[in-house]
Amino acid sequence: MAKTELDELNTNIYDFKKKDDYAYKMKKGLNANIVKEISKQKNEPEWMLKLRLQALEIYNKLSLPDWGPDLSELDMNNLATYVKPKSEQKSSWEQVPDDIKDTFERLGIPKAERDYLAGVGAQYDSEVVYHSIKDELIKQGVIYTDIDTAIKEYPEMVKKYFSKCVPLADHKFIALHYAVFSGGSFVYVPKGKKLEMPLQSYYRLNSPESGQFEHTLIVVDEGASLHFIEGCSAPKYSKINLHAGCVELFVKKNGYLRYSTIENWSKNMLNLNTKKAIIDSGGEVDWVSGSFGSKISMLYPMSILKGDNSKTEFTGISFAGHGQNLDTGFKVVHIGKNTKSVINSRSISKNGGISTYRSFVYVMKNAQNAKCSVSCDGLMLDSKSRSDTIPVSNIQNQSVVFSHEATVGKISEEAIFYLMTRGLSEEDAKALIVKGFSNPVSKELPMEYAVEMNRLINLELEGSIG
C-alpha cells in the first residue's frame, strides 16, 4: 500500500499526556476520505454516508470528558489505518499475549472459537450453527442479521430507528463510533412474538474484525419478548486498543427485553461502550451485566422510561484487578407516570484495581408516582485497591419514592472464620464469599454463562490473569 500524506504526518511522536497534542493527533488520524471509503466499501445508501460525515464533524468539535479515568493513552495512531477498508486487520498468534492464550485454556474455549476471539481467524466457524437458527427465526417472523445487511435489506426500518436512541452528539466517542462503525447485530421481534430461546451475539459474527465499533440495534415490537446475550467471558484480544461500540434498544408497548452482557476485553483495551434503551408504555428492559476485562472501562448503560408504567432493572457486577480502572454504572430517566427502576450493582477491587461506580437517576417534573431504588455495594479485597461510589440523583417530582443505599468494606472476618470452622481453607472461604457476592448477576444468566463467569472469578482471584 502506498504511503499517503496522512501516514507521514502520523509518524511523529506526540506526548499523549498533553490534551491539545492528543486532540490534534486524533483529528489528524481520521478524516472525511477514510469515512467515505468505509461507506463505499459497504455499498451504503447516501443517507448513511451523510450520517457518518456529520458524526465526523461532531467528533472533531467535541472535547474529551473532564471527569473519569485518564484516557490519554488511547492509541489513535493506528485507528485510521485500522478502520480503512481492505487493511490488514487480522493478528497473528505470535502477537496474542500469553495470558490470553492461557485463559482460553483455563476456560475451556474450543479451538475454533479461539481463532475468532484472538482476532486471528477470518471467520468464526459458527456459520453452521447460525444458519440453522436463522431458518427457525425466519419462520417466526424474527429478523436477526448483521447491520450491514439490514441497512440494505430493511432500509425503512433501520432508517426509522438508527441513531434515534443514542444521538450522534451524545459524547465524543459516540461521534467517533457513528463515523466509523462497522458490524453489529440487527434484531426485530414482531408484535406478540415471545422468543423462548435467547439470541446470542456471537452466532452471527462472521467478519474479521473483533467487533471494535459494532452497532447493535434491537427493536422489540408491541407485546413481544426477547432475551439477547452479548459477549462471553472469554477475553477478546485486538491490535487496536479501543472498543467504542453502541447498543440501541427500542421496546414498544408492553414489550420485554432482557439484555445480558459479559464483557471481558483483554487487559490492554479501553472499553468505552454506550448502551441505551427507550421504553414505551408498559414495556420493560432488564439489564444483566458482568464487567471483567479491559484496562479502562467507561460503561453506563441507560434506560429511558418514556412511556407510562414502564420499568427497568439493572443487575451488574464488575471486578477490577491489577492495572484495571473500571468506571461503570447505570443511568435512568423517569419521564412517564408510574414508572419503576431497580438498580443493583456490585463491584470488587483487588490487587490495585480501581472500581468506580457512577449512577444517575433523573426523575422529571411530570413523572408522577415514580419509584426508584438503587443499591450498590463495593467489596475490597486488599488495601492496594480503590472502591469509589459516585451516585447522582435529580428529583423534580414530589410524588416520587426514591431511595439509595451503598456500602463499602472488606469480606467480613466473621464470615471467613465461620466457613473455616466447617473445614474450608481461607482461600476457599474468600472465593465462596466473592462468588456469593456476585450471585445476583450469575443467577440471572443462562447456566453456561453463569458457570463461565464463576470460572472467570476463580481465575481473577487466583491472579492468574494480568
Binding site: I390, S393, I395, Q398, V400, H404, E405, G409, K410
Partner: protein, 335 residues
C-alpha cells in the same frame, strides 16, 4: 458568573452538580464590626486568601478574629440588615478541653460570607451549633476543621432561607480515634437554592465520620447535596456513615444529591443511604387518624426527621426557635 463549591470528584457536567454558580458579589463587601462574641478570648488576626475547595478564584475576608475557647459556652452572633459581610474566625480548642459554641446568624437583604477554621487539639471535644436564618440574603459558609488524636467534633447546622445558601464543610479526622459528626437541617422556600458540600476525610486509624442531612423544600426551592466520606489508605478500622433525606413539599421543588463514598483502605466500614420524595403516607395517615390535620402532621413528621440534628442542640432557647421555624414554614408564614 463564578464557579464555587466544587465537588471532590467531578461527574458529567450534564448532571449539574459539579459546581454552584454565583454572580461576582465580592467587590461590594465592606467591613462589618457589628457582631457579638461572648464567653471566649478574641484577637484580631491577619486574614488569608481562600482557594479550593470553595472557589476557583482567590478571595480574602476583610475581618478575621481568632477565638480561644474555654469551658463556658461561647457565642457568636451576627445580625445583618442591608450589609455585605465577609468574615473569618479561627477557633482553637485546646488539648483536653470540652466545650460548646453557638453561632447565631440572622440576616436580611444582605450578603454574608463567613469562613470558620476549627483546630481541635488532642483529646478535645467541641459541640458547635449554627443557626442561620436569612431572608433575601445570599450566604456562604465555609467551614474547615482538623482533628488531632482522640478529638471529637459535633457540628450541627440549622438553616432557613429563601435565596442562595451555600455550605462547604471540610473536616479531617487526622489523629487516631478522632471523630466528626455533621448534622444539617434545612428548610428552603420560594426560589431559594441550597448547596451543601460536606466532606469528611478519615486519615487516622479508627476514625469516625457521620454525615446526616435532613431537609424540606417548598415552592420552587432547589437543593444540591454533595456528601463525601473519604477513607484514605491507612485509616484502618475506620467507620463512615452518610444519611440524606429530603422531602419535596411542592411540585416545583428540585432535589439533587450526590452521596459519595471514596475508599482506598479495605479494613473499613462505609455506608450511605439517601432518600427523596414525599412523606411516608402511612405515617401521615396514622397521625391524622389521631386527630391531627395535614399541616400539623407534616410539621410533626419533619421534626421527627430532623431529630438527629435537633437532639444535638444543647441550648433550649435555640432549639425552640428552630422548632418554631419548622412550624412557620409548614404553615406558609415567612421565617
Amino acid at each position: 458568573m463564578q464557579k464555587i463549591n466544587k465537588s471532590p470528584v467531578l461527574t458529567s457536567n450534564n448532571f449539574g452538580i459539579n459546581y454552584f454558580f454565583v454572580e461576582n458579589v465580592f467587590e461590594k463587601l465592606k467591613p462589618f464590626k457589628n457582631f457579638k462574641i461572648t464567653n471566649c478570648d478574641t484577637q484580631e488576626k491577619e486574614p488569608e486568601n481562600i482557594t479550593y475547595p470553595i472557589c476557583e478564584f482567590s478571595v480574602r475576608p476583610n475581618v478575621c478574629k481568632k477565638l480561644c475557647l474555654n469551658e463556658s459556652t461561647a457565642k457568636v452572633e451576627f445580625n445583618l440588615d442591608g450589609d455585605s459581610v465577609f468574615n473569618e474566625q479561627k477557633i482553637e480548642v485546646k488539648s483536653g478541653l470540652k466545650t460548646k459554641i453557638i453561632f447565631d446568624f440572622s440576616a436580611q437583604n444582605s450578603f454574608l460570607f463567613n469562613k470558620i477554621i476549627f483546630d481541635l487539639k488532642e483529646e478535645s471535644f467541641c459541640d458547635a451549633v449554627f443557626v442561620i436564618n436569612t431572608k433575601n440574603t445570599n450566604n456562604f459558609l465555609n467551614f474547615e476543621s482538623v482533628l488531632q488524636k482522640n478529638a471529637k467534633l459535633n457540628l450541627t447546622f440549622a438553616t432557613f432561607s429563601n435565596t442562595k445558601s451555600i455550605f462547604n464543610v471540610f473536616s479531617k479526622n487526622l489523629g487516631e480515634n478522632s471523630e466528626t459528626n455533621l448534622n444539617t437541617m434545612y428548610i428552603t422556600r420560594e426560589g431559594g437554592k441550597i448547596d451543601l458540600n460536606l466532606f469528611v476525610q478519615n486519615i487516622g486509624k479508627n476514625t469516625k465520620a457521620n454525615i446526616n442531612s435532613n431537609g424540606a423544600l417548598l415552592d420552587s426551592a432547589e437543593k444540591s447535596f454533595k456528601g463525601t466520606i473519604d477513607f484514605l489508605k491507612g485509616a484502618q478500622k475506620s467507620f463512615g456513615a452518610e444519611k440524606e433525606y429530603c422531602v419535596l413539599l411542592s411540585s416545583g421543588a428540585i432535589s439533587k444529591s450526590l452521596p459519595m463514598l471514596l475508599c482506598g483502605e479495605e479494613d473499613v466500614t462505609g455506608s450511605h443511604s439517601s432518600s427523596s420524595g414525599k412523606l411516608d403516607e402511612n405515617q401521615l395517615f396514622y397521625l391524622m387518624s389521631r386527630g391531627l390535620n395535614k399541616k400539623e402532621a407534616t410539621s410533626l413528621l419533619l421534626k421527627a426527621k430532623f431529630n438527629s440534628g435537633l437532639k444535638q442542640i444543647f441550648d433550649e432557647e435555640l432549639k425552640n426557635k428552630i422548632l418554631e421555624k419548622i412550624d412557620r414554614s409548614v404553615y406558609g408564614k415567612s421565617f
